[in-house]
Amino acid sequence: MTATTTPARRRRSPRAAQTRAEILMTLRRGESLLLTLAIPVGLLVFFSLVDVLPTNTAEPVDFLAPGIIALAVMSAAMVGLAIATAFERQYGVLKRIGTTPLGRTNLLVAKITAIVVVELVQFAVLLPVGLALGWRPPVAGLAPALVGVLLGTCAFAGLGLAMAGSLRAEIVLAGANGLYLLLLLVSGMMIPLTKLPSGLAAAARLLPSSALADVLRGCLTKTVDVPARAWIVLAVWAIVGPLLAVRVFRWE
């Protein structure tokens, strides 16, 4: 390579440079795109067209679209963040960055910004796909839904970082993927909680994933009506998740 092929370098602030790097790395991670984009879109399309799930609605997409958005938020904020951060920790990247002027706050801001960018990409894909399948969310529900997504992102990012900062990377890899599948099944994202055994359903209502699914479904189907319990559970997790991360996170 010669200097002529070297793209010109633009100087960035530490935070801007790290944010850009986090976004690029996140979007380049093929296996994580499978989880954050391909699987949610696939599930939404398949089960909207093949009406085999007990969604209790005339149009399955009305039930599925909000649930799949909750799944997308969970996959970006918890699964993707946990796995990537766990490996960075294992390979000593976090340790090394700890002695540079970047600082932990900038690192955290960069990571969260990257998640928000992924979420925007997810919405940009899921929304038109949902609309094409006949989903008609009420406009009045968009603002509260956004609040729900923010709370859910806080909760899941906290839980993801708690895992990444306390467990070995291989365990996080297996655990986060397993958790994704488990929560997908028992959080009312695709299968209504009313179809679960009553004990399991009661326990599932306390999960951040089912609270987010309930909030989004309440905001984004026909009439805006969210059970107060879902808001409370989600808000509690949005506080507990980050607190847990702060408590258990070890940098090396």
Binding site: Y91, G92, V93, I97, P101, G103
Partner: protein, 328 residues
């Protein structure tokens, strides 16, 4: 008197899981524009000392200061003025050298070196876009070094900076480090390679089991060791002149049956002496090479360097095999 770049006074580090101190009563100082090598076998306490200076560990007792600051309490003030190269390199797996060095340059703002020029200096321009995980061990190490230097630090901490690097690149790295030193950077490097310490460092601190066993300039240390020679016991009145001729160094019978050969106490020289005695059917009773503690230490240094070489070679072979398997 100028203030030292690094001051370590009576440093002791204990870990709850260890029955002895990892570091015990270590003191040294490094001036700006000076390279200090911490030399010792694995487990000597080198990394513990460096990590205390970097602010990763707390001293159990004693005092450390970097540029007049406490590495933990004043970490924020220090971060833009120090450069760190860790033993585990700690670089994003999917990023190529150019992107990583540019990213790190941005951390340091205006004081940063030109990242592309630095990449060239460490000889990585040809692999500028190869992701970290596909770089060779030596390339990874040179990148890691570049990341430690890109912020134009006043103090650089380098953990085993040339361990996995081949001979040509090693000369390159050494001249880069000398250049940094001449520009006023204080450098602390750890190594278990005697040759590395000798060729690079202005001062060497030799550690064993957490304690300083010797310190001085490379010349002082090698001289101290060489004057000791090899001592051995054999039957009285052997032909010292013929052995001396073979060794090309004086051999003296200091008391009846106790001899001293004024040669460097290397294993080859010892082998020559043992071989000569065997050839003349003379029993060798006792043999002592060099001043005991230092010689022992050097043996272990050499041993652990050889072990590391072997580990590295094994690793490289494994990587090659993996690569071949992936390619087929």
């Amino acid at each position: 008197m100028t203030s030292p770049a690094i001051l370590v006074r009576d440093l002791t580090i204990r870990y709850p899981t260890m029955d002895r101190s990892a570091v015990e009563g270590v003191s040294f100082r490094v001036e700006p524009g000076e390279i200090l090598a911490l030399l010792g076998p694995n487990g000597a306490g080198k990394t513990s000392i460096v990590e205390t200076l970097e602010g990763y560990r707390r001293a159990t007792s004693g005092m450390v200061s970097v540029l007049g600051f406490d590495p933990i309490a004043d970490a924020v003030a220090l971060r833009s003025r120090i450069g760190v190269m860790l033993q585990r390199n700690g670089v994003y797996l999917t990023m190529g050298p150019r992107d990583v060095v540019r990213l790190f340059a941005d951390y340091y703002g205006d004081r940063a070196d030109d990242p592309d020029e630095l990449l060239d200096r460490v000889g990585l321009s040809s692999v500028a876009t190869t992701p970290w995980r596909r770089l060779s061990g030596g390339e990874q190490q040179r990148l890691s070094l570049a990341l430690a230097l890109v912020g134009r630090p006043e103090v650089a901490f380098l953990d085993e900076p040339t361990a996995a690097i081949d001979a040509t690149a090693r000369q390159n790295v050494r001249s880069l480090l000398r250049e940094q030193r001449d520009g006023g950077v204080a450098i602390v490097l750890t190594t278990h390679d005697l040759d590395e310490a000798e060729s690079l460092a202005d001062h060497v601190v030799i550690l064993d089991q957490g304690r300083i066993v010797a310190a001085g300039t490379p010349a002082q240390l090698t001289r101290a060791d060489a004057t000791d020679g090899v001592r051995f016991s054999a039957p009285e009145g052997i032909d010292v002149a013929s052995l001396a001729a073979l060794l090309n160094a004086p051999v003296t019978e200091r008391e009846p049956g106790a001899y001293m050969a004024a040669v460097e106490p290397t294993s080859q020289r010892v082998a020559v002496i043992a071989g000569w005695l065997a050839e003349h059917d003379l029993a060798l009773d006792a043999l002592q090479a060099g001043r005991r503690p230092l010689e022992d230490l050097f043996m272990r240094l050499t041993q652990s360097a050889a072990d590391t070489e072997r580990q590295r070679a094994d690793e490289a072979r494994r990587r090659d095999r993996r690569r071949k398997r992936a390619a087929s």
